[in-house]
């Protein structure tokens, strides 16, 4: 029985009008990987912010014991001094500084008050090797992919002599192989250096893979802590804890199957990178989507799926686009995004905060943004129509908010996603391209989004769904295309497809690329 490294007792944190944490207890043993799970808004991030001193001592009730001593952290520096390092979901790296500079940001290697560049880069390299990064420490952050940036954050934590590493949804923006690499790293550090980790994640299979214990939070309260050792951990039990009910079926049933009419047809679609115009990001892709059909696009990050979708959507991405695009048998030559919307296309972005929603504006204005014609006469807004429209969509998609005047930035991830989807349904498209529609969304909201997708299909809308979560594609789609390196390498029916088959296709194709 290892000793307890961390004990949080009776933590209660109030925000104006909200009890974000209510008497939460968390015990983490030395050298274990402890997972925190819960729906968005359950209080996971708040709890970790209390622990790391982002919410300073005195702004919450309860006690934190770390290494058997009562802690009163006032800033994040206080907690880092004790070896508690938190890595946030949105990475805190400066894009135009080098890896080495980022590694020691706020903790600079210096000699006589000046930066010691040799030590900076030498030490940076040491830490980078520990996490398996082979890059030059002088590389700028902007030139690294998300997966490597995430690893770098861990290296940065190591440079701070981390003892307790907190990771807030570390894999949410990684593809499966990068995610796996990261999780393996955590396991290795646990084994070799005895580093204790707390990991927040929505991905149940990952938790099952790394976690020794799983604490489930719901509505700011601890529901239970499950131990891997005593075989208590099952997906059903975790989900039940998170949502407070049994989720018999994670994917809602759809009765109606697609009709034979082809809605969207893309032929020999090739797109080049907008800056590096010799790089082909989409390479001769052909695909079809029928009316009322949900078609998935599987692939690793960087396979060209988003690029394909955005280039189809009125050339929103890419250069030197070639190929034909047909809708209902008629060829479309789209001149831009407004043209694409007019022709009944919709692209629902994977990055809802970055390029999906106007966070500082109301739900009402966001929902109506893509289709002003429905709420205006000759360019003059009809505010009654706007309000009615927004309220109708709020109810239809059950967006949880007091009024549609509320700022979108104040909603939870799931509700934000519903606003985003609502905006595009409001635009009355025939073909919807959904890019990672459930990223960063909790289990309950996921189910609701699936239901929305099914409803759309039942209304004979055609849906092209890009997702990095294979189970989701398998559960939702009638057909799945597998993309790799800009090309479609396989097309599978619902019956043929399985996680193993899809991954196998990708691995084979990647191997081929290396071999060539």
């Amino acid at each position: 029985m290892a000793k307890n490294l961390l004990e949080m007792r009776g933590i209660t944190k109030l925000f104006p009008g909200v009890r974000a944490l209510n008497d939460v207890n968390l015990i983490v043993e030395q050298g274990e990987i402890h997972a925190l799970c819960g729906e968005n808004g359950a209080g996971k991030s708040t709890l970790m912010n209390v622990l790391s001193g982002i919410y300073p001592y005195g702004t919450y009730e309860g006690e934190i014991y770390y290494d058997d001593a009562l802690c009163q952290f006032h800033t994040i520096r206080d907690s880092e001094k004790r070896g508690i390092v938190i890595i946030h979901q949105e990475l805190a790296l400066v894009p135009y500084l080098s890896v080495g500079e980022n590694m020691f940001l706020g903790n600079e290697r210096q000699r006589a008050g000046c930066l010691n560049w040799n030590a900076t880069y030498e030490e940076a390299e040491t830490y980078m090797r520990m996490v398996g990064l082979q890059e030059n420490p002088r590389t700028l952050i902007k030139d690294l992919g998300m997966g490597k940036q995430q690893l770098l954050e861990i290296a940065k934590a190591l440079a701070k002599n981390v003892r307790l590493l907190i990771l807030d949804e570390p894999t949410s923006s990684l593809n499966e192989s990068d995610a796996r690499k990261l999780l393996d790293l955590l396991l290795r550090f646990k084994r070799e250096k005895g580093i204790t980790s707390i990991i927040i994640s929505h991905k149940l299979n990952e938790l099952a893979y790394v976690a020794d214990k799983i604490t489930v939070l719901r509505d700011g309260m601890t529901i239970e802590t499950l131990s891997q050792a005593s075989n208590e951990v099952t997906e059903e039990r975790i989900i039940r804890g998170m949502v407070g009910r049994e989720m018999v079926n994670r994917y809602p049933h759809r009765d109606k199957r697609p009709s034979g009419d082809v809605a969207l047809q893309v032929e020999d679609w090739t797109v080049y990178h907008p800056q590096y115009t010799e790089r082909r990001v989409v390479d001769g892709v052909s695909l079809t989507v029928h009316q009322g059909e949900v078609v998935g696009v599987a692939g690793l990050i960087g396979a060209g799926r988003t690029e394909l979708a955005m280039s189809v959507f009125g050339r929103a991405y890419g250069a030197k686009i070639s190929g034909t695009l047909k809708k209902g048998g008629k060829e479309l030559r789209l001149t831009g995004i407004p043209d694409a919307i007019r022709n009944g296309l919709a692209y629902i972005t994977e990055d809802r905060k970055g390029d999906g929603l106007v966070l500082g504006d109301s739900i009402k204005h966001n929902i109506t943004l893509a289709h002003p014609a429905a709420i205006s006469n000759r360019g003059v807004l009809d505010k009654d129509k706007e309000l009615r429209g927004a309220q109708a969509y709020r109810d239809k998609l059950s967006i949880k908010c007091p009024t549609v005047e509320q700022f979108v930035g104040n909603l939870s991830g799931g509700n934000q996603q519903k606003v985003l989807v609502g905006k595009w349904i409001f635009a009355q498209p025939d073909v919807l391209i959904l890019d990672e529609p459930t990223r960063g969304v909790d289990v309950g909201a996921k189910y609701e989004i699936y239901q929305i997708i099914n409803d759309l299909a039942a209304q004979d809308k055609s849906i092209l769904m890009i997702s990095s979560e294979l189970p989701e594609l398998l559960g939702m789609c009638d057909r799945i295309y597998v993309m790799n390196d800009g090309r479609i390498i396989a097309e599978l029916t619902r019956e043929e497809a399985s996680q193993e088959i899809i991954m196998n296709h990708i691995m084979q194709a990647s191997k081929g690329a290396i071999g060539a």
């Binding site: 946030h88 995004i337 905006k423």
Partner: protein, 414 residues
């Protein structure tokens, strides 16, 4: 403060009401300090003359700021160049006043389109494009005027800036004061129309079952607005009546308020400032809107240039210096966000009035220009600081202020 908020029907922009209160406080303060001189009929007319062009510039500037916190630094130089151009045409070439004014406006629009092209289509930061313009147009102004001041303008030109509407109804006496009848009639009409429109709107909304504030709050608001408007026109009527430039500014304010709040294009400007990428992916023609914002600013700067030249009765190489800063300050004091997407024409008007009354109030109380500058600078900082701090406390629009940093601090990620 909360009680106050509820009294006004909840869900309002405290900041804007705060600035109204600040304006009232400043007016009262200088009114008392100058033992009423501030409210003297001639002085009130003067305040209008002194600030009309700032208001006109602030309208254009607000739209630029809305598109993403961009500012146009060149407007002061455009004011000077347009003034020099019409001065040259009217005074030297004896050109027809209206034709010359038309050419002046076209010049402003052309300059605006020049900026818009570089900013929207080549994507050079507005700050740099307009900084370049600031130097170029000032240089051209001096060239055009050969470093000299042109004067005087014919009365036909001046009447649009320093003139008054003719009294069509004749004078009459009220409370022993001689009043311009037409001016009072205009004031009463404005109040009557406002009240009727507001009440009809209120009723319509209630009938259709939408959330409406308390009727009492609306009536209180209308009474206050009515009283202020009537008082203003009463004071103006005691002098020479309605200044022509007030009509011009009033029409521009109405048109642009309608444009920003009730048209699709206006809505799109807010979306562009709020999140450009999201707006673009929603089919908003972001480049076109950016172009429009600067072209429009150029046109309004030309209008301000005409008004200012007519008021000074001269075209001077030094005209319009620091006007861009007054206009920018007016927008920020009036609650516009330095990141774009937030701000109203009404706010910019209040901001311009705060600066204008500060100027005038300090001047008539004999406070020197150097002190005036210090005070105005501090007021600008104070107003924006209030904005930032009040937003932090409500933690609502903090998203746009702190952006990612804030998200990392976990305020959003519950």
């Amino acid at each position: 403060m909360n009680k106050f908020k509820r009294l006004l029907g909840g869900n309002i922009n405290i900041k804007q009401y705060f600035m109204v209160i600040a304006l009232v406080a400043i007016v009262t303060f200088f009114g008392i300090l100058s033992s009423g001189k501030l409210f003297a009929p001639m002085n009130v007319s003067n305040i209008i003359f002194q600030n009309a062009y700032v208001i006109i510039l602030a309208i254009g500037m607000l739209i630029c700021i809305l598109t993403g916190g961009n500012i146009d630094l060149s407007v002061g130089s455009v004011v000077a160049l347009v003034g020099a151009c019409v001065g040259n045409l009217i005074i030297r070439q004896k050109m027809d006043v209206y034709l010359a004014a038309g050419i002046g406006l076209a010049l402003g629009l052309l300059i605006g389109c020049w900026h818009g092209f570089w900013i929207a289509y080549v994507r050079i930061p507005a700050f740099i494009v307009t900084l370049s313009g600031m130097l170029v147009y000032r240089g051209l102004t001096i060239t055009l005027l050969a470093g000299q001041t042109l004067s005087p303008f014919p009365a036909e030109f001046k009447q649009y800036s320093t003139g008054f509407l003719p009294d069509l109804l004749g004078e009459f006496n009220l409370f022993g004061a001689k009043l311009n009848g037409f001016c009072m009639a205009v004031g009463v009409t404005i109040v009557a129309v406002t009240v009727v429109v507001q009440l009809i709107n209120y009723n319509n909304r209630r009938r259709k079952g939408y959330a409406v504030g308390r009727a009492g709050a609306l009536i209180a608001k209308l009474v206050v607005i009515g009283a202020v408007v009537l008082a203003l026109f009463f004071v103006l009527a005691r002098y020479k009546g309605v200044p022509t430039v007030l009509v011009l500014a009033g029409i521009l304010l109405l048109v642009y308020t309608f444009f920003t709040s009730s048209t699709v294009m206006g809505r799109h400007i807010y979306a562009l400032g709020g999140n450009e990428k999201a707006a673009r992916l929603s089919g908003v023609k972001t480049n076109g809107l950016l172009f429009f914002a600067y072209a429009n600013m150029g046109l309004l700067a030309a209008v301000a240039g005409l008004v200012f030249a007519a008021r000074l009765d001269s075209s001077s190489p030094q005209a319009g210096q620091n006007f861009e800063l007054d206009a920018i300050a007016a927008c920020y004091i009036g609650g516009a966000s330095a990141y774009g997407g937030i701000g109203t024409i009404g706010g910019a008007l209040i901001g311009a009035l705060i600066m204008g009354v500060l100027n005038n109030g300090m001047s008539i109380n004999g406070i020197a220009t150097d002190t005036q500058m210090v005070v105005k600078g501090l007021v600008l900082l104070g107003a924006v600081a209030f904005d930032v701090i009040s937003k932090k406390q409500t933690a609502l629009p903090a998203i746009r202020l702190g952006r990612k940093k804030k998200a990392q601090a976990g305020n959003l990620a519950l």
